[in-house]
Amino acid sequence: MARQRIGYFENRQDPENICSRCRMCELMCAFHHHQVGNPRRGRIKVIALGQGEDIPVTCLNCEDPPCMNICPTGALYRKTADGMVQVNEDICIGCAMCLNVCPVGAITLDPVDGVASKCDLCQGEPQCVTYCPASVLKMTDAGQFARYRMKGFAKFLQTVREDQ
């Protein structure tokens, strides 16, 4: 199976099926990993662009992850070849180089422990997916996400044809 990650699947036609910035994902993520309420320790973040544009962002689990490649201590690692990139808190020195190279800024420094913290898919059952009230967050992989986009584009083409 391909590399898993958290994907954002929205449906612009249905106002209920778009991220509604309730930030439940952030809260549950922080709660699951640290047993506290503190969104800034969550590994997923809802970015608000204003005018009703909100999009959650988290690790894309890149094919060739820069964070893992640059990590000087090997604190970032993959258990299996197609597994999620994970952080070994014990050997992370908090040099923040992974922050610097991450293309989407999915890695943060934990404000309390001061080690790199990133999405680890909660060992298989992601809390953000379970608790998302709009159910726009799904476990996915690059291929599936691409298919989803294609579908959206196909729909668009359809409308164009209908217009003519």
Binding site: P15, E16, I18, S20, R21, C22, R23, M24, L27, M28, F31, H34, Q35, V36, G37, N38, P39, R40, R41, Q51, G52, P111, V112, Y131, P133, A134
Partner: protein, 628 residues
């Protein structure tokens, strides 16, 4: 630093604006156990620290921003902030409750509540970050609207990820019903706390926090919130609220014929479909939004994309928007309602009082009590949307006739000696619906401790409680009868205590009490909430004790009002409801009956354990609640 196992941040921030001194006081454990948080804290602090009979806009008044123990935890819909002060609009206890993201952020920044005292010599704003607080000059922000204010602040801080609680021009110009706006869209509207902030020259409170809100017993907490979620998903009310938001009530009001249209001269609206929840969803809804950790997601985000008023992007509308700016003024153009709502939020004035005041002015104008030259030559008649927008632009700056409108209906009535047309209780306008056909609701609105309010109690129980449940719980089946009176006083008292808990915990009432079965209310409101509370804070608590906390706080508020001189006579609905019959609609001909109402009130006082003549809580009652 906090000795609480979880939930509370354990600190209260006291800011004296006069000399700019800032001090942190640890939160007392007993205090927390007695008053839980939110409204409990604010009411108690106001009762203790305010001198009786002070001018609400004087430096002596306090402004309290308080959160509950559950704010900041992943509890569903635990997002509510309580802003409180002695109200400049009513002179009684004034508090208002808003959602959004600000209350949790205050916990992350390390405080349970902020208390503002005194008056600053120049405009300032308070910057709070991770337990550190500092006052900064806000000269450059003074006079800015809500959005500009937070834009400027974000630029100044160099971070978009901050949370701003600000007042608009309304608050600066001491409009008596100015509101406090958090995160640009969540409005603590009623009772005009914004004006008090304005009088203190405090423009904004800006937060950024990364501190933990600890949870005493994570395992139990997880189970509790999962159970709580279960009660929410698949709940009829939740579904409706998500689909239509509070505007779904429009249809309901029309069905029962309890609109307060045309300043309560009509009970139904012709062409109400245009302003129904469906209509707004069809035409304007961009997407459904939710406050922090919300499972219900009743918040709308709407946009006017074409027409003369485009582009307007705004949160809302809520039912009360439509009621105040639409029904009362009889403006049935949804776009204008939305625009007016947007302007109210931008200028930071309470749309409900604003709508009511304008509606009252419209009636006075139509009755010839107000002359055209008095109202700046505007054709101020019902249904005139331009007039509505015109004055909403004027009120925040107290321009022209806006100066009088900015005083609220009570003072308008006194100045134009037209008290009869001022539809308010204790100075706060009747908002939700026309209670003439439903005395129980009249009672709820009338006895509410902040003036007429439909969120202080939960009279709607009678819409769905089953007779046997009523028999079992309130000792009379007539509680389940929509128009029956017996046992209603008791029911109202119970619902008030019970609803108060939501404000204490900082949980949203829509996740809390919107339900279609009475047992569910008990389960969710008391048992589950008790579970979550205990799991979060690790404090000893049980559902009975929790209920008594609600009752205690309510009595504290009553004591505050009594001290400010609001006795039994102030627990009556406006005269109009006794004199005039409901003109039309299903409830045609209904009006309140003096004897009936007195009986209800007596029953209510009895259930509360208050003196029937004066409404003063009896000593034994207070003792039983552990109130000195």
């Amino acid at each position: 630093m906090s000795f609480f196992a979880g939930g509370y941040a354990g600190q209260i921030l006291y800011v004296d604006l006069t000399d700019g001194s800032i001090q942190k006081k640890p939160l007392d454990r007993e205090f927390a156990l007695k008053y839980i948080g939110g409204r409990g804290f604010s009411s108690r602090i106001l009762l203790d620290e305010l001198k009786p009979g002070i001018d609400p806009l004087s430096p002596d008044n306090l402004v309290i921003l308080a959160t509950g123990p559950l704010n900041g935890t992943p509890t569903p819909s635990a997002s509510r902030l309580t802003v409180a002060a002695k109200s400049p609009l009513t002179g009684a206890l004034g508090d208002s409750n808003s959602g959004g993201y600000w209350a949790p952020e205050l916990k992350y920044a390390g405080f349970d509540a902020i208390v503002f005292d005194g008056r600053s010599s120049e405009p300032v704003y308070l910057w709070v970050e991770d337990g550190k607080a500092v006052l900064r000059s806000a000269k450059h922000l003074w006079g800015q609207k809500i959005h500009q204010t937070s834009e400027l602040l974000k630029e100044e801080v160099g971070d978009d990820d901050i949370h701003v609680c600000a007042i608009g021009p309304g608050g600066e110009n001491l409009v008596r019903y100015a509101c406090v706006v958090t995160d640009e869209e969540s409005v603590g509207g009623r009772t005009g706390v914004g004006a008090v902030l304005g009088s203190k020259l405090l423009k904004a409170v800006v937060l950024r926090g990364a501190q933990d809100v600890r949870i005493a017993d994570p395992k139990r907490f997880k189970e509790a919130i999962d159970a709580y979620r279960e009660t929410l998903v698949g709940e009829v009310w939740t579904e409706t609220l998500r689909r239509l938001g509070t505007p779904n009530l429009v249809a309901h009001r029309q069905k029962l014929g309890i609109w307060g249209a045309k300043n309560f001269q009509r009970a139904t609206i012709d062409g109400w479909e245009k302003i129904s929840g469906e209509a707004f969803r069809e035409k304007f809804l961009l997407k459904v939004m939710g406050c922090m950790g919300c499972m219900v997601r009743c918040r709308r985000y709407s946009a006017i994309r074409e027409g003369p008023l485009a582009p307007t992007y705004t949160k809302g509308p809520e039912y009360d928007t439509i009621n105040a700016l639409g029904a009362k003024t009889y403006v049935t153009d949804p776009a204008i309602i939305l625009r007016a709502h947007h302007l109210c939020d931008e200028y930071g004035i309470d749309e409900q009082t604003a709508g009511s005041s304008i509606a009252m002015a419209m009636e006075l104008y139509e009755r010839g009590i107000l002359k055209k030259d008095q109202v700046d030559g505007v054709e101020l008649v019902f249904g005139n949307g331009e007039a509505l927008l015109h004055f909403i632009e004027k009120i925040p700056f107290r321009k022209g006739f806006g100066d009088l409108l900015a005083e609220g209906t009570k003072i308008m009535g006194q100045q134009l000696n037209a008290d009869y047309y001022a539809i308010h209780v204790k100075g706060l306008e009747v908002d939700a619906s026309d209670p003439r056909s439903l005395p129980t609701r009249a009672l709820t609105y009338a006895v509410a401790t902040r003036g007429s309010c439909h969120l202080r109690g939960f009279p709607y129980i009678d819409e769905f409680i089953k007779p046997e449940e009523a028999m079992a719980f309130f000792g009379t089946p007539s509680v389940s009868d929509l128009h029956g009176l017996e046992g209603k006083g008791k029911m109202v008292a119970w619902s008030e205590n019970w609803v108060t808990l939501a404000d204490l915990m900082g949980v949203c009432k829509f996740a809390w009490y919107r339900s279609r079965s009475f047992p569910m209310l008990i389960k969710r409101g008391l048992e589950l909430m008790n579970d979550i509370f205990v799991a979060t804070t690790g404090l000893p608590m049980n559902s009975e004790e929790l209920y008594r906390c609600g009752e205690r706080v309510y009595n504290v508020e009553k004591m505050f009002n009594l001290r400010e001189g609001f006795g039994r006579e102030s627990d009556y609905p406006p005269l109009r409801f006794f004199k005039e019959e409901t003109p039309d609609g299903p409830a045609k001909g209904a009006k309140l009956n003096q004897e009936e109402y007195d009986r209800l009130l007596d029953e209510y006082y009895e259930a509360r354990g208050w003196d029937k003549k004066t409404g003063i809580p009896t000593p034994e009652k207070l003792r039983s609640l552990g109130l000195p």
